[in-house]
Symmetry: C2
Subunit: 243 residues, 2 copies
């Protein structure tokens, strides 16, 4: 059977991979991914063939995976974080009708809302939303709408892709929308280089976040009105009753 594993490798360090993710890569002949992610796993599976592509070549990468699988090879298509959340699993399924003989297995991984959350404390301990600020594939007005409704619902929010070279002011714009609903004192946080060298977690207010420049390797956390700072950690209680 032709086989593609779509593998979430987590934040990058080996200890944050699941056994299932390791086993999928070990069972594969070829590992395919965005060049940066391929470099993260190559040290652990040095005997595999590797194929990589640059950013924004997601559909090419998926077709490459189907072609390799069709030639009889077992393939792991690797994604940072989870395989499903802004990952390649959806795209693989979208292209799958052209390759009906290929079996697809999605192997979940630790997404940045979870790995970054653990660095900050417990920022998403209750109902939460995950929103990407990248408008490469999503209209900006829909992103704005989601920010507003998530704030109105008093959700904790994890913001992915908060910045890039071309979008250096997107986090600021997002904070301005959140500030139409929330007070500037709302507890927020961000984590840079999760699970990698240079990992850094910062807790700050929404007003302070609005005036902070973060890079593209950052995940941002917006509190709910219940979120507090305890011993320097960002903590959202899991309920609305006192301990």
């Amino acid at each position: 059977m032709n086989m593609i594993y779509v593998v979430g490798i987590g934040p990058g360090k080996e200890s944050a991979m699941t056994a299932e993710a390791r086993q999928a890569m070990e069972a594969s002949d070829v590992i395919i991914g965005y060049s940066k992610y391929v470099e993260l796993v190559r040290p652990y599976f040095s005997d595999k063939a590797y194929l990589d592509t640059g950013m924004r070549k997601e559909a090419d990468r998926c077709r490459m995976a189907f072609e390799q699988a069709s030639s009889g090879k077992t393939v792991s298509l690797v994604c940072s974080g989870d395989a499903g959340i802004y990952g390649m699993a959806g795209l693989i399924y979208e292209l799958s009708p052209s390759w009906p003989e290929t079996e697809i297995v999605v192997v979940p991984g630790i997404t940045a809302a979870i790995s970054g959350g653990a660095c900050l404390g417990a920022p998403i301990g209750h109902d939460f939303a995950v929103i990407s600020l990248s408008d490469l594939l999503t209209p900006w007005d829909l992103i704005e709408k989601r920010l507003k409704y998530a704030a109105m619902g008093d959700f904790n929010i994890a913001l992915y892709n908060p910045s890039s070279h071309k979008r250096h002011d997107y986090l600021q714009k997002a904070c301005d929308i959140l500030l139409t609903v929330h007070s500037g004192d709302l507890i927020c946080g961000y984590v840079q280089n999760i699970g990698r060298e240079g990992e850094k977690a910062v807790v700050l207010t929404l007003s302070e976040l609005r005036n902070t420049q973060v890079d593209m390797f950052t995940t941002v956390f917006i509190g709910s009105t219940r979120t507090k700072v305890i011993g320097g950690k960002m903590v959202t209680p899991r309920g609305y009753r006192d301990v």
Copy 2:
């Protein structure tokens, strides 16, 4: 140093645990948790001491962890799924000011939105919200508000705790709220017994979901207007442009 690891063990099967979670439990003298979760890890770490409590005894479990740590033992407090998302990490931090000498490390795990998502295909491939339908610790009117705003923002939604003995009609009530915003044809899904014996994934419409009775071991997925069914899988594309 007194040490508590708050460990997300994922859905339960060993292969879905991270290496970090395994290492934390291996390094521990005592493993503490809700009795059901303790039973899931006991076979893999048979030489440890175990302490368990029943449901709704979360604060007792945390105090037990601090007491054991204070007596010089290294403790793993285990949570199903992730340690932060509706987990014990928040509660441990809330109680931590009374036990200042104890170090706390949160070890993330695969939450049901991710593990269940992999079973269904790619249901949360784009912006999403996670909402618990349990009103034990959250007022029902806030849950209703969040359901409404999540639907208005066209988020994918993962619903946790969709049912219990006392709340057999909560999923139905939630669907009725979603149906004030979405059409009955919206693609939805649910997964039972994720990663355990009897795992079952079902794709259906919102109207059909409204008339379905699920049990407490179920995670429910609500599509966005972009979600589709491809080869029996529930798939939300990661962008708003065609492949």
